[in-house]
């Protein structure tokens, strides 16, 4: 099963589950905001999404991943809006029979997400300035 959500509040992780009979591997990734963005100290990040397409593209990648790798479930939450340093912006859970396919699947999924999902970071600097991350002409 595939679940993807884009949400604008702190991420509540998907619940753990001791009741599964066949999935020997539960793999969880939390991507968190670091205090520096392109070498600059930030106050927080603001994630901007292309509403609609961000979620549909995320879902498409999740389904692709589940088709390529023999996993049971892929759950994902991506946060948008303002995210404080240290907080989770991306939460991914993959359940599979064995760990190897889970590790390969999570690697592929996040890598594709970072290539294709129309979400962008705006750095909020210490002085309050807001600029697109990696913007060169600031």
């Amino acid at each position: 099963m595939v679940i993807v959500e884009i949400i604008d509040r702190p991420i509540d992780p998907f619940p753990s589950d001791d009741g599964r009979l066949e999935q020997g591997s539960e793999l969880i990734f939390n991507g968190r905001v670091r205090s520096k963005e392109n070498g600059q100290e930030i106050k927080e990040l603001e994630y901007e999404q292309y509403e609609g397409m961000a979620e549909s593209e995320l879902k498409r990648i999740a389904i692709e991943t589940a088709n390529i790798y023999p996993i049971s479930d892929l759950f994902c939450k991506h946060r948008v809006g303002t995210v404080a340093v240290g907080e989770t912006s991306l939460h991914v859970v993959i359940w599979s029979k064995h760990r190897n396919e889970g590790l390969e699947a999570i690697t592929f999924f996040i890598s594709e997400l970072k290539k294709r999902v129309p979400i962008w970071k705006w750095a909020i600097l210490k002085d309050g300035t807001k600029i697109p991350s990696e913007c060169r002409y600031h």
């Binding site: 901007e48 593209e57 705006w122 990696e134």
Partner: protein, 81 residues
């Protein structure tokens, strides 16, 4: 002439100073022409920024003819995760 809705994100929004603009373009105008128009407006501020294109919430490749009422996004490098 036809109208398309250009939605702007990240560096495109920053360069154009707007999140959304309705553009009048010639019938038969393509995504490549739209991108040139937008880069002109940005006046150098999008130099070196690669742009993918989505029409009506789907990525498209190559040079695609636009239609009246299309929602178009010139997508700068994405940064999710």
């Amino acid at each position: 002439m036809i109208k398309v809705k250009l939605k702007c994100f990240s560096q495109v929004k920053y360069a154009l100073g707007t999140g959304e603009v309705i553009l009048e373009i010639e019938i038969g105008a393509t995504t490549t022409e739209l991108e040139e128009m937008v880069r002109d407006r940005a006046d150098g501020r999008l130099d070196g920024v690669g742009l993918s294109v989505a029409i009506n919430q789907q990525y498209v490749k190559g040079d695609v003819v636009l239609h009246d009422g299309d929602e178009v996004v010139l997508i700068p490098p994405v940064q999710g995760g």
